[in-house]
Amino acid sequence: MTDSAARFVALEGVSLRYGGEGGGTLAVAGLDLAIARGEFAAVVGPSGCGKSTLMKLATGLAPASEGAVIVAGHEVTGPLKIVGMAFQNPTLLPWRTTLDNVLLPLEIVEPYKSSFRRDREKHVARAKALLATVGLSGFEARYPWQLSGGMQQRASLCRALIHEPALLMLDEPFAALDAFTREELWAVLQALWMERRFTCILVTHDLREAVYLADTVHVMSARPGRVIETRRIDLPRPRDLEASFAPEFVGIVHDLRARIAEARAAA
């Protein structure tokens, strides 16, 4: 693997201070992290550890105060255009159908934008196929408010992936859903990732979710956040819910939990 593939997303000695020189809050400090191209990484840690700051740093939404952020072989100096995102709140526009919501990024991101109208039929077919892979066939013409929370989040994932971003950023995407729906969506997301192998960074406070989905789980310390442990998850894929109750899986969750408890106590 070339260096830019092994370190597709790399944070090197990064710190970020909010609120000005000297004063303010040090959100992260001495943050080192490397994620390979096509890897599924999860970031966990105590509340306020800077998980969301890490997302902003990796996508260029917040500039590092110190250190370097490198994505796809280039130092990040401003917001990246190769990223898809999904957050806890689905951002589906209430006045557009599910299909039209999924098509949105194609209307604004090159190389799709300039030919969007000409190739509309092709894009519609692609969006429908993507919706079908997350179990939303037949719901294309529905409005978001006519869908359940879980269905809205499935559609949000489609919207985040339709323009085939090199990097998918997920910040607590399933946190607002009930436990059963959340577990269903783990399987949906895993299937999408196995088929497409985009690089993914999932920020979550749900350790089972992290272990179920990720190749590597990065544990952050309390504020100022840094990575205090990186755990490889070598469980075979596709993983299913049954596997999440097996001793090996539960053992990993316990280890991570203990590590976060230590980090909290040290704060």
Binding site: L61, N89, E107, K113, W145
Partner: protein, 231 residues
Amino acid sequence: MTPLLEARGVTRTLPGAVPVTLVRDITLAIGEGEFVAVTGPSGSGKSSLLYLLGLLDRPTEGRVLIEGQDTAGLSAGALARLRRERLGFVFQFHFLLPEFTALENLLLPMRRAGLEAEAALRARAEWLLERFGLADAMRKYPEQLSGGMRQRVAVARALANDPALVLADEPTGNLDSVNAAGMFDLFESLVSEHGRSIVVVTHDPHLAVRAGRQVRLVDGRIVEDTGAVPA
């Protein structure tokens, strides 16, 4: 004069073993340049009414007319076109797409309408954002903006296609009192300086009185309408 938007005897019932009626026998006409606040307790049908007026939902009984045109027989595509060209929406949550700048978020609905050249769209979007005190925020992403700024971008987006009517559902629900008051300042100027009409659902009585007309709902019925035009 033909009202901009009109509900005539509108009832919306959700089917099911126990049918639930969301709004009942609503008759309401909204004219040009009107600023209307819809108030009422939770569950009184405020949002349901807004969805019906916004052509996002269809009544079980009664009719919704836009500029005199009955919308009952229109296809989903025709309704979508009417919404795109004549209506703008603001919700409690901003629904800005995180991957795109404030400017790009505005350009999305404008491109969709596809009426003008790219340069003209961009100039209009920039003008709108400047108008709302967002000149420095244009190239920023939603995550880089404060809650109040995000919501102002959402209002600017609602105006992107120059709608005749803006429908807002609890647009200040996530804002502090200063930003909430600022949002209503914005609405007032849209009505007084630009002649738009605005229907805003709010549970905040202090904000509601700033509208020229208050419509109060209880149990899905209009119990008070300070601006009802005599039949």
